[in-house]
């Protein structure tokens, strides 16, 4: 690929092209539709991996930047770029979509389903790549439409309710952000001299009065808090997750929620460092509440999918904790955990979906003893579950640990409380596992089919990522960290926040120690 190839634009536009092609293709050639979806999603996935491979890991700035004027009278440009914060989210998006497209079939109407999925992919990619406030908002918001139709069209019995709730709730959050975005650009004009929605320009050149910055931050924070979701704005999530089709749930948990946390990083910390520092205690508290509360609520769920959904609330609480602790480790951990959560919760949703395929129920009470009849399936579930619990050596731990150890430096008591979340995570997942997989299978469950080859291959990709990231996260960390450090510096230099410094006590060589 030539260096000047606008790869980021292609990442966004290709899925759209695919969706358009799918829409055009006649209903008679359903197979062709699948092929198109596969080609485009795999193509985008391949490009994202190429992006990962050729990403310059030491560079903390934005790479592959492409910038073109768009709406000149408002100072809006098509400004894309990728850095350590967004890189892995882009890659995750690139990987997750083909997996969902290849691995999970909708029950009807492939054509529209695939078209919506590809549009969704474009929207998600755009959100992660945009470096223009307006552009970001557009993608952030447009994502609602395909997701709405995916939930509403291919979901389960209460799908319309869930889809509507999802749409309106998230849109309400964005309503505040839209005003915030405009206000940001308008107010920044004083410092910059012209109207622009360019993220980098505003962040680097504009400074907001203390109170103004806080209000602006709040307006953004509401939108992101809904998207993440942060307690107490989370209740759309269990409904949406539960009612969404499996593919939708995977995408929803895998990448859509990350748009909120990513937004906090990219648009909360970067744009309004002082306000973010000011809001730190509140968000940390909400994050910790989310961790504990989500876990407790998960424990008591009777619907397996709902349980996983609530576990997302808890997990995302960790990510928010890491973001607002604002240390190198916690932020790196948060970025990493975004990806990790996408992988492990995505996989969990896939597995729950497979259970539903087989048993047509997600009620924990109706499932029992599956491990006896489907040991491989159970093993896969177990591994993914352990990753979700945060067992070292699997990916979930690496991120969670970095978040906690980083957060401890600047938010000690919150972290101590948050860490109890690991106990609860074990509690609700193991309890659920016990009820679903352990015990003697009853009649209905005794014919539970073992994992098929295709399902196995699908899950193996996830497990591979889970294992690799858990054991060898360094390649990931060294790409994330420079950008994160830059962000921390940015916050420190634009606010009264002092990044905690860890003491540099060089370990004395063992031999000299004896001399004391």
């Amino acid at each position: 690929m030539h260096a000047s190839f606008p790869i980021l634009s292609a990442l966004i536009l290709l899925p759209i092209l695919g969706a358009v092609l799918i829409t055009i293709v006649s209903n008679k050639y359903l197979e062709l539709v699948k092929v198109i979806a596969m080609v485009f999603s795999v193509g985008v996935g391949g490009m994202s991996i190429w992006l990962l491979a050729s990403f310059k890991s030491a560079d903390s700035g934005f790479q592959y930047v492409s910038q073109h004027d768009w709406v000149t009278s408002w100072g809006i440009s098509w400004h894309l770029g990728v850095d350590g914060v967004s890189l892995f989210l882009v890659v995750l998006t690139g990987i997750l979509f083909p997996l969902v497209i290849l691995g999970v079939d909708p029950h009807h109407d492939h054509k529209r389903y695939l078209a919506w999925l590809l549009l969704l992919e474009a929207g998600v990619m755009g959100s992660f790549l945009s470096l223009d406030l307006f552009l970001f908002f557009i993608f952030f918001e447009i994502v609602l439409v395909p997701m709405y139709f995916l939930i509403g069209g291919w979901g389960y019995d209460k799908r319309v309710y869930a889809a509507t709730k999802f749409f309106l709730y998230t849109m309400l959050g964005s309503a505040f952000m839209l005003v915030g975005i405009i206000a940001t650009a308008v107010l920044a004009r004083r410092d910059i001299g012209y109207l622009t929605f360019d993220l980098v320009t505003i962040a680097e050149q504009a400074s907001f009065a203390t109170n103004t910055g806080r209000w602006l931050f709040v307006s953004f924070a509401i939108a992101f808090a809904v998207k993440v979701p942060i307690f107490p704005l989370h209740t759309w999530l269990p409904d949406a997750h539960t009612q969404a089709p499996t593919g939708g749930s995977v995408i929803l948990a895998g990448v859509l929620l990350k748009m909120g946390t990513y937004g906090f990083l990219r648009f909360g910390l970067y744009l309004f460092p002082a306000a973010a520092v000011w809001a730190k205690p509140v968000l940390l508290t909400l994050a910790v509440i989310g961790i504990i509360y989500g876990a407790i609520a998960a424990t008591m769920q009777t619907d397996l999918k709902r349980l996983v959904a609530y576990s997302s609330v808890a997990h995302l609480g960790f990510i928010v904790l890491g973001i607002f602790a604002i240390t190198s480790q916690s932020l790196t951990g948060s970025v990493m955990q975004m990806v990790n959560h996408g992988i492990s919760t995505g996989a969990l949703f896939l597995l729950v979906g497979m259970i539903y395929e087989r048993r047509h129920t997600r009620e924990i009470a109706e499932l029992r003893g599956i491990q006896s009849v489907a040991p491989i399936f159970s093993a896969a579930f177990m591994i993914v579950m352990l990753s979700s619990i945060g067992v070292p050596g699997l990916n979930g731990f690496a991120g969670e640990f970095l978040i906690l150890i980083g957060s401890f430096q600047s938010a000690r008591w919150w972290t101590i409380v948050a860490a109890t979340g690991v106990i609860l995570a074990a509690l609700y997942l193991l309890w659920a596992y016990q009820r679903v997989f352990h015990g003697e299978p009853d009649e209905a469950n005794s014919t539970f089919a073992e994992m098929t080859l295709r399902e196995g291959a699908l899950i193996m990709v996830f497990i591979g990522l889970i294992g690799f990231t858990g054991v060898y996260p360094k390649p990931m960390l060294e790409r994330i960290e420079p950008s994160v450090d830059k962000l921390v510096e940015h916050v420190v230099s634009h606010s009264d926040y002092k990044a905690p410094t860890t003491p540099k006590i060089v370990a004395e060589p063992h031999g000299e120690k004896a001399g004391e």
Binding site: W70, V71, T72, S73, W74, F134, F137, I138, F139, E141, I142, L144, V145, Y148, F149, G152, G153, R159, V160, T164, F167, L168, M171, L172, A175, F176, L178, V179, I182, A183, V186, W215, S219
Partner: protein, 497 residues
């Protein structure tokens, strides 16, 4: 005692009047030839309407071109202002007339009642609208308003086979007359306090060139009366009460026409009065517009929640849109704000959206023009996917989903509002937009997620197809390339200023 006083009439700016004259000629042609030649070729009336409107558009376009480096001037003893603002509004109105004529032809062909009168009324109402948007004199404005309104009353009541149509016509008429009286009273009081009925002169009077001491109360009450009258026409809450009933009852093409042309004209007039005539009294009217805007956005979106008739839903949504435009108008009350431009932008986009939406309603409304219940839209995606998709695009555009023109319009007015520091208003409007989105979602659910109630063939008139196609295309094109429209509306200026 000057018996031989010569009459110094103003020179007549024929060139500037071409759009109005063209429409007038079309009207006369329709009426005269229509009554002389009993059988016309199929859709002949629509063609005449279209051609005369096209001439008007071309004339306006030429004017726009001339005005590019010159913001315009007033003519005819300063009663008509031909400026970028009025030209833009005129073009919008003329486009709406073409859309309206297309829909009308489809409607009349289906009702087997094609005749020249309806088109003539379309044209006369457009004349009224063109006068309104260009009027620099309150009496001319009033006359334009009445021409527009009377035509619309008649159009609304024109389906005499349908009780609802007549009911809507009567309601519209009574309440319209009621509100006109308020408007007129406002003109009287302002005339009393400023000594003029010319908008630009009022502005000058208020800026202190002419001494007017101690007439605040009468002036302000006059402004209030004007706002009541125009508030009625733009259906701003609480003067919106007629809107749902009239929109629901009127024949669908008329509803579309009312919702677009009526609103554009009334808003243009309102904006001109407020921004040109009452610029000095911004502090007085801005809070009122603020309150009206909030009331309107919320009334429109909240009331839409429980509706079951799509036409009525769209009526409420149009109220909500009016509220959004008022947000832009409110912003226009601030120095240096581009509220005028963004309101104009909103109006132009709104016209396209509302035309397209009602065109789809028309396509489905059946032979009685009455099948507009939400249940009639069930499973449309299965019966006519393209139609459903088009409607979805238009509905989501109205909801303000990005990459559609509807988003551009909302973004623009919110931007103006924010630039004018009206944060509360901006946020309130956005929250209302979310509530309003529920309405569009309900229709989308009906179309996409429910099973069709009947599988009877839906035949769509080609004229309607044209309207839908153009509006959907415009919605998307402007959504992707807002600059195309923004560039034009940004230049909207008033002549004497």
């Amino acid at each position: 005692m000057v018996f031989a006083a010569t009459l110094d009439g103003p020179s007549i700016p024929w060139v500037e009047l071409i759009p109005i004259l063209s429409l007038l000629a079309g009207t006369c042609f329709l009426l005269l030839v229509g009554s002389l030649v009993p059988t016309w070729p199929r859709r002949g009336y629509a063609w005449v309407t279209g051609i005369s409107t096209t001439i008007a558009i071309v004339a306006n376009a030429v004017k726009w071109n001339n005005l590019y480096y010159n913001k315009g001037e007033t003519f005819f003893a300063d009663v008509i202002a031909i400026d970028r603002f009025s030209v833009l509004a005129s073009i919008t109105i003329c486009l709406a007339v073409i859309f309206g004529a297309l829909m009308m032809s489809a409607y009349l062909v289906r009702m087997n009642a094609d005749g020249p009168e309806m088109y003539a009324l379309l044209l006369t109402s457009a004349i009224g609208a063109l006068v309104m948007v260009a009027a620099n004199e309150l009496i001319v404005l009033f006359l334009g308003l009445e021409i527009l309104s009377l035509s619309l009353y008649l159009l609304a009541a024109s389906n005499r086979d349908r009780e609802q149509s007549q009911e809507s016509g009567l309601k519209y008429f009574i309440l319209g007359g009621f509100s006109s009286a308020f408007f007129l009273y406002g003109v009287a009081l302002i005339f009393g306090s400023t000594g003029s009925t010319k908008i630009s002169e009022i502005g000058e009077a208020l800026s202190g060139n002419i001494s007017i001491a101690n007439t605040d109360a009468i002036l302000l009450v006059g402004i209030g009366m004007l706002l009541v009258g125009l508030g009625f026409k733009v259906s701003a809450a609480p003067f919106h009460v007629w809107t749902p009933d009239v929109y629901e009852g009127a024949p669908t093409p008329v509803t579309a026409f009312m919702a677009s042309v009526g609103k554009v004209a009334a808003f243009a007039a309102l904006i001109r009065i407020l921004a040109v005539g009452l610029e000095q009294r911004v502090d007085d009217w801005r809070p009122v517009v603020w309150a009206l805007a909030i009331l309107t956005v919320f009334t429109g979106s909240i009331l839409a929640v429980v509706q079951t008739n799509v036409k009525r839903m769209l009526a409420y949504s149009s109220i909500s849109h009016a509220g959004f435009i008022l947000v832009g108008v409110e912003a226009a009350g601030h120095v240096g704000s581009d509220g005028v431009a963004t309101s104009m932008n909103y109006l132009a986009i709104y016209t396209v959206l509302v035309m397209g939406s009602f065109a789809i309603v028309l396509a489905l409304s059946g032979n009685t023009d009455g099948e507009t219940n939400l249940s009639d839209f069930k499973g449309l995606a299965k019966r006519r996917p393209a139609l459903a998709l088009a409607f979805t695009v238009l509905l989501f555009a109205q909801a303000g989903v990005p990459l559609t023109a509807g988003f551009v319009s909302k973004f623009a007015v919110i931007k103006s509002s924010v630039e004018a520091n009206s944060y509360v208003l901006a946020i309130a409007a956005m929250v209302a937009a979310v509530i309003g989105a529920y309405l569009y979602l309900r229709i989308a659910v009906s179309m996409w997620l429910e099973e069709p109630a009947s599988d009877s063939e839906i035949s769509v008139d080609p004229a309607v197809v044209i309207v839908i196609a153009i509006s959907v295309a415009a919605t998307l094109i402007v959504g992707f390339f807002p600059e195309l429209l923004l560039h034009a509306t940004r230049l909207a200026r008033f002549a004497p200023l």
